[in-house]
């Protein structure tokens, strides 16, 4: 199946803005972030197809993941 991963802010370093992957089923969101060496603690906002996502959810063909790091300064 085809999964699109969009990276934001510092998560773009070394990964670019977007990657389109072909992965085997079943694949969960957690498998994707592990594949890109992203620590779970660095996933502040996780959207799957524009909605609040879940690291354990099995992904479906054509899903779009958006991953944002924590922003906490003031």
């Amino acid at each position: 199946m085809i999964i699109t991963v969009k990276f934001f802010a510092t998560l773009r370093d070394g990964r670019g803005k977007v990657q389109v992957l072909e992965v085997e089923e079943p694949t969960r969101t957690r498998d994707i972030i592990n594949r890109f060496d992203i620590l779970e603690e660095d996933v502040a906002i996780l959207l799957i197809n524009g909605r609040d996502g879940d690291l354990d959810r099995p992904l479906k063909d054509q899903d779009v993941l958006s991953i944002f790091p924590p922003v906490g300064g003031g």
Partner: protein, 230 residues
């Protein structure tokens, strides 16, 4: 008369009745640093009549790159006190109350109650969660803003909303700002959006960022409002 003349340039955006409403409003800004300095300045200039400025910290040389109320003469002085002096210098009619304290679970209720809106100018995620939780209990809107380097985000959290849970899935206490720092332009930009939210909440006009987050990426020029859907 002098008061109305002061707000001459507001009046095509904010009516005389709305301006009077802003003068009656009680807004609390938590943090008087990067976001806080700009938030306090713009809230006061637009005519918010009662502002509480909370910060337990003193100005340091490393604040000079971005914190509006920092200058060479106030290094070592309390940020809340300096903010109050600066506001008083351009509008003595505003009641600005400096509070030299760090907000914690122990003192948050006492500091935040009796305000119409709380404006986030904090520098860490943990205290934001404490404040957001208390705003829920006290039934007070919380105008969230956070920055890191080239990036910032803004949202308006009304009582009952679970917005921070969606913005901070993990338990981290700080974010990308630890690596990136904060340059001068990001706090000014995010604070501008926060103050516009405050004015819209108080005047009940326009579209607020409830259950939405505004993302700003000044590095790649990406700016958009993301709905926070379940």
């Amino acid at each position: 008369m002098a008061t109305m003349h002061r707000y001459d340039r507001n009046k095509n955006c904010i009516s005389a009745v709305e301006q009077e409403g802003l003068a009656q409003a009680r807004v609390c800004v938590i943090g008087c640093g990067g976001l806080g300095g700009y938030n306090i300045e713009m809230l006061a200039r637009v005519g918010i009549g009662h502002i509480s400025a909370i910060d337990g910290d003193v100005f340091d040389v490393s604040n000079l790159n971005r914190q509006l109320y920092s200058d060479m003469d106030v290094i070592g002085q309390g940020k809340a006190d300096v903010a109050a002096r600066r506001v008083h210098a351009f509008n003595p009619d505003i009641t600005i109350t400096p509070i030299k304290a760090f907000v914690s679970e122990e003192n948050a209720k006492e500091l935040l109650e009796n305000h119409d809106i709380i404006v986030d100018s904090l520098d860490n995620i943990e205290t934001r969660k404490t404040v957001a939780k208390l705003c829920q209990q006290l039934n007070i809107p919380f105008v969230y803003g956070a920055i890191a380097g080239w990036y910032g985000q803004v949202s308006t959290i009304m009582p009952g909303d679970q917005t921070l849970e969606k913005l901070y899935r993990s338990k981290v206490k700080s974010g990308a700002e630890k690596k990136l720092g904060n340059p001068s332009f990001t706090p000014a930009l995010i604070a501008s959006m926060q103050v516009a939210e405050v004015v819209k909440i108080l005047t009940q006009k326009g579209d607020i960022l409830q259950n939405k987050v505004l993302f700003i990426d000044t590095l790649d020029h990406e700016y958009w409002v993301q709905p926070l859907l379940e």
